[in-house]
Amino acid sequence: MILLTKRVEFCAAHRYANPRWTEEENRRVFGKCVNEHGHNYVLEVTVQGEPSPETGMVMDLKALKDIITEAVVDRFDHKHLNQDVPYFKEKIPTPENLAVVIWELLEPRLETCALHRIRLYEDGTFFVDYYGQRGPQG
């Protein structure tokens, strides 16, 4: 089994607020993140599979990049996550929730190999990993 990772970047704005909480409570929990701001996200998509005996590849990196671009980058890049993505009308656009939705977007589009991990960097000091519902050993 080989793990193959494609790295892409996208830039987006967001703010954190729980609609069930008061402004004061949101500010206490989320601090400055209540204000509109943005990040240069770095997304690492890792797929797993055996190299094809014909091509020596687990998956064509260009094909993987095209899928990620269509499903994720075009949808989130230079967008306001709270306002432009309906999913984040209900959920707070944290890296955790972004990673889960990115998994849900990519997983059904991969036909030749399995999605292993979504790693999303918000910046150089914070990143999240999501291995799907089944977890890393699934």
């Binding site: 989320f30 432009d84 309906p86 999913y87 656009p93 944290t94 955790e96 849900e104 977890g135």
Partner: protein, 160 residues
């Protein structure tokens, strides 16, 4: 607000009506500290042979880079992994406040290990953080002595 991109409507309702997804969240910190590798049980020649340049009697130092990973369900209230806020506070109080601009040899107890190798320091940091979090929340700790040398501890072993 009107949405110009029709594909935005295709975003799935991930996690809705199911158990909260389990995510690993990693925060990266750094601290600067001095140390000297030296095991008092050995003589000077033996220490010099084992630890080489790291045995310099005057010590040396590193800018350590620390990655701390917690693993848990995503809170429906905050969208963060449970206890993410506590982690930041914990690392500042238990690690950065003590270890940044410190001499590691003063902070290592004999029960932590024979000397302040990064393996021993990583083990100490794991115990300091694990003890301040709910059981099982701390998932991985990676301590980089330099960009070229780093050490990792993971709950349940590194069998991934």
């Amino acid at each position: 607000m009107a949405n110009a991109d029709p594909r935005a409507r295709e975003v799935p309702a991930a996690g809705r009506g199911r158990e909260a997804p389990v995510v690993e969240a990693t925060r990266v910190y750094q601290f600067s500290a001095a140390h000297r590798l030296h095991n008092p049980r050995f003589g000077p020649a033996e220490n010099a042979r084992i630890y080489g340049r790291c045995n310099n009697p005057n010590g040396h130092g590193h800018t350590y880079r620390l990655q701390v990973t917690i693993r848990g369900p995503v809170s429906p209230d905050t969208g963060w992994v449970e206890d993410a806020q506590r982690l930041d506070l914990l690392v500042r109080e238990r690690v950065l406040a003590r270890f940044d601009r410190s001499s590691l040899d003063d902070l290592i107890a004999p029960t932590d290990g024979p000397t302040s190798t990064t393996e021993v320091v990583a083990g100490l940091l794991w115990r300091l953080l694990d003890g301040g979090l709910p059981a099982g929340r701390l998932h991985r700790l990676r301590l980089e002595e330099t960009p070229n040398n780093f050490f990792e501890l993971e709950r349940g072993g590194v069998d991934r």
